[in-house]
């Protein structure tokens, strides 16, 4: 009488094609049996639960925005005031206390350069690993894949020493070049190129095209959607990076926004209205980017499933 047994019987029935019709009753409504909660109550409960979950996850962000426009009197009371005084001067106050424009500029420069490098290295290596034949390909691909196994924290100590040996400590270079190749990017591009029909390249070869022309005039344009994914992944990684730039730099002139925000937190640790304003104006650009490009973010998650994270 176990439900599994019944299921399997039905499953077999479905595979043999016998039960596909009776599963739905007239009018297209789903068949319901007693004891099945997907009924009337479930139909009301589910949206209510979905709304509750959504709000629960938004509360911290809403609370950040509310505190950012609260007055100091609102903030230092308990229970906390849930309706703020709409004091927008916190933003001006926080903006004036740190070189935010420099931080923003650095982040854009660093993230932009990382994205550019990653796109180039992924496109080139992804193409070679997918479509070209050369000695040692298997070993070299394994070498690339093995790079994903090394945690960033493990790399901090040796790279700190390397950065000083190269004279790259406290520069843009140490924040850009080490992140200029991505296992995720190479893997994703390789997977994409493997799906392209062989005839495409055979035709190009018949025309006498060399690898460069095949790559840039045949393969690369087709890879645009994958390239967007890789770009977004690198951009977010670079924007959100903290421990690496924190260790590898010391001056505001080259430090990115998240490190700047941490420094601001260090000096203004109890000014919660100013802090929440600073968190808001440094984070809203990323939130806006996410809302515009949501589709790609979600596809990116599935991309990582096929390979690696980050």
């Amino acid at each position: 009488m176990s439900p599994t047994t019944g299921t399997q019987t039905n499953a077999q029935a479905i595979r043999s094609g016998r039960l596909t019709r009776p599963l739905r009753i007239a009018g297209g409504r789903t068949w319901r049996t007693p004891g099945n909660p997907h009924g009337r109550v479930g139909r009301l409960l589910q949206p209510a639960a979905a709304v509750a979950v959504g709000l629960l996850f938004l509360i911290p962000i809403l609370w950040m925005l509310i505190t950012s426009v609260a007055s100091d009197a609102d903030v230092f009371t308990f229970p906390p005031k849930l309706w703020p005084a709409w004091d927008f001067s916190n933003y001006a106050k926080a903006w004036g206390k740190s070189p935010w424009l420099t931080y923003f500029g650095n982040t854009v420069l660093i993230a932009g350069s990382v994205v550019l490098l990653v796109l180039i290295t992924s496109l080139l290596a992804g193409f070679a690993f997918a479509l070209m034949r050369f000695r040692g390909k298997g070993v070299l691909f394994l070498l690339v894949m093995s790079a994903m196994m090394v945690p960033q924290t493990v790399l901090l100590i040796p790279n700190f020493i390397i950065a000083q040996k190269l004279g790259w400590y406290d520069t843009y270079l140490i924040q850009i070049v080490p992140w200029g190749a991505s296992v995720f990017g190479i893997f994703l591009l390789r997977q994409f190129f493997l799906t392209l029909p062989k005839e495409l390249f055979e035709a190009a070869e018949m025309d006498g095209a060399g690898p460069f022309r095949m790559l840039f005039s045949v393969a690369a344009p087709l890879a645009a959607p994958s390239l967007v994914l890789v770009a977004l992944n690198s951009f977010m990684g670079s924007w959100n990076a903290f421990v690496w730039p924190y260790i590898m730099t010391k001056s505001d002139a080259v430090r990115p926004i998240e490190v700047g925000l941490q420094a601001f937190y260090g000096t203004e640790g109890t000014d919660w209205t100013g802090l929440c304003a600073a968190v808001s104006f440094t984070t809203l650009p990323i939130i806006a980017l996410f809302l515009f490009l949501q589709k790609y973010f979600v596809t990116g998650v599935y991309g990582t499933q096929g390979s690696v994270r980050g």
């Binding site: 039960l19 996850f57 180039i120 790079a147 100590i157």
Partner: protein, 308 residues
Amino acid sequence: MKSIVQGRPAASRGRSGLRSPVAYLLILPAILIFLVFTIGPTVFTFIVSTFKWNWLNPDQNKFVGVANYQMLVDGSQDPPFAATLLTSGYFVVAMVVGGTAISLALAMLLRKAGRINVAARTAVFLAHVTPLVATSIVWVWIFNPRFGLANLVMSWFGIPNIDWLGNSRFAMPAVIIYSLWHEIGFTTVIFLGGLTTISTELAEAARLDGCNAWQEFWNVTFPQLRPVVIFVIVVSSVASLQAFTQFFMMTGGGPGFDTATLGFQLYQQAFVFRKTGYAAALAVVLFGITVALSILQLRTTRSLGRNA
């Protein structure tokens, strides 16, 4: 480029365009970056871990063999390595068990299309894309012992104010709550993807047989989802084992060393206490665990590919 000019002869040589030493040139930039900044440094970490490394004067570096590893085992360091492992274990287990269960439940709740579900998914995933530094600050404010939102919620249940981040009993749970908030969006989306690939006919058949929702989930949906569950477990173990930023921002490893996980200890020993050799030994341990988990991940990914 010669083949383009010559045209015909190149074609007659067959697949010459794709069998060309140019391939090495194409992979060179990526390989070079990985060798210099990832693979080389990993080997270097093993070397550093056998030295008493002098931060300021490399000439005074002294080879000490396995002494740094002995310090791991004999518990002579503060905090002892065993305590660090336990702290990491606490965080990893809570993140893996809590994260997997909650995100699977959320995926089940939000699996059907529709405006409300899509909006709720967006809200859940939005938390995941926020920078750790930024939202850690917001959550420090939420966990504020005197004016925090968390204590407001507690007061509704008649619980007096808690010093969340300053109390050794509550500091880790507080960081876990924040980390769950931040990570669940990622794993929920993975589960939602997994749910789209499984058969709905089987579930309907189970319902027809009189299964209730729980029986249907446990006996029909969950078994089909098992490879995705394993993937999520492995991915979140690797990620939470390496977690650093939220500890740095929210507790600084404290109070005492109560939230000093392996990733945080590595940073603290190397860059605060300047015990580079010992920190490198910690890094080797972290590396070992990650490699083991990554191999597991590769295996599960492969089985995912077969099933999905």
